[in-house]
Symmetry: C2
DNA sequence: TACCTTCGCAATATCGAGATTGATGCCGAC
DNA sequence: GTCGGCATCAATCTCGATATTGCGAAGGTA
């Protein structure tokens, strides 16, 4: 109808389109439940039970679970059904270091190649994140902060030309988010996270790739440090 | 039955266990057909037709296709079915550089941490690869060479402790193998590949991580160079 | 002639039921 | 008392059928 209004205004505002298929819907719900810790690591995923919970047939659920294997949030054991992917401190350490390498490289490339539009998107995303962090200090708009934090990290590396690196970074980000939920289920955000984000933002706008990636590395590793406890989480075989 | 004989003798000999489910079987056949180029990039994968070819039901095929999305060999377009993942020179360049980074890092770590058992496996794998390359020069035991080349590269980085890096490397290796099949469908192996393998092998045993990763980088990039032609492959939307 | 609308067909997405496999508890033997 | 084998049962895995969606051709309008 309208002349040439692009379907989405800009990348920083893009909301995921509504699921157009039942598989997609079940996939997103399941992923959310796993990442946010409502499904215990190692837990058996019984199709029969979940048919009722998600309101879809067995084959559909099965397909959604197969899609979750891509994200390594679900594992399938031959003919013994599906389980939520187990967790361990070793795995978290691996995720952390791999993130440092991949997200650091993506950030360096992004800083080197980002144009003015990238800068604008970055400023917008940082602004939204800052507002969310202020609101988070009072009430808990946790979900909003989660989303804006994700978008901020996405926009930081948006100018990296490698789709593969960004693909892997996304997978690892989801993994790390799951560990964060498993550890600090109730605690609020540590006090210095905003300072880290600001330092990251400043270094990116100054086009100091090495400084920015160093800050990012510390930022990622600090998440690992805060997860010193894993009481019931380390059961996952 | 036997006292404590491990199920597999060693890593270099490990054969994949037979598929225990029809989904697994269809998944492997499809993956093989895509990697080896029998399914054209961008081609529509019609469930109805393939039901007959693979002898399984629609839901089963659908699940196998969902698994192939993990490997980025298949893409699904909302409610418009599945297609073979498209190809492009940009994508191949991206895959190549990402491989150089990840496989190089994995190799450095592997050389740093490999023990005697790793050295032994590496020697065995290199020996098998050498034999296969000799046989390849005469008749075309192409499949055997493919398999042993894959195992050689796997063993090279086997001592890298990061499962995530190795996971990503495997995905990219499959992608690269597909491009190789798409380009040189008939041609034989270039003459200097064995020399590159030997140099890689020597540097690894000398524990010269930097030298080895440099050779590996050139080795990976040379694959990109040989793919200057992509006549019918670039149709992928 | 070019464009938009409408209609028909092919393909997808999904469900419920049946076949096959793995796990659990009980019983008998050594 | 402990181990191995067997039967029962639950859960997975699979298939054929059905409703819904998307694509292409025909027809109408300016």
């Amino acid at each position: 109808m309208y002349p040439s209004t692009s379907p989405r205004s800009n990348a920083a505002e893009a909301l995921p389109p509504p699921p157009k298929t039942l598989v997609e819907s079940a996939y997103r719900n399941l992923r959310k439940n796993i990442i946010e810790g409502r499904l215990t690591p190692g837990e058996k995923l019984r199709i029969e039970h979940m048919k009722e919970d998600y309101g879809v047939g067995g084959a559909t659920l099965r397909e959604a679970l197969s899609l979750l294997i891509s994200d390594a949030l679900v594992v399938s054991q031959g003919q013994r059904g599906f389980r939520v992917a187990p967790v361990s401190l070793d795995d978290l350490a691996d995720i952390t270091e791999t993130r440092v390498m991949l997200e650091g490289e993506a950030l360096r490339q992004s800083i080197r190649r980002g144009d003015e539009a990238w800068e604008a998107n970055l400023m917008a995303a940082f602004h939204r994140l800052t507002r969310a962090e202020e609101k988070l200090a009072a009430g808990d708009n946790r979900e909003e902060w989660e989303e804006r934090n994700r978008v901020f990290h996405e926009v930081l590396i948006a100018a990296c030309p490698s789709r593969w690196i960004k693909h892997f970074v996304t997978i690892l980000y989801n993994q790390a988010e799951r560990y964060r939920h498993l550890s600090l289920r109730e605690s609020t955000i540590p006090r210095d996270v905003h300072a880290e984000h600001r330092a990251l933002f400043d270094a990116a706008l100054e086009r100091d790739a090495e400084k920015a990636s160093a800050i990012l590395a510390q930022h990622i590793r600090s998440t690992l440090d805060t997860v010193s406890m894993l009481p019931a989480a380390s059961v996952g075989h």
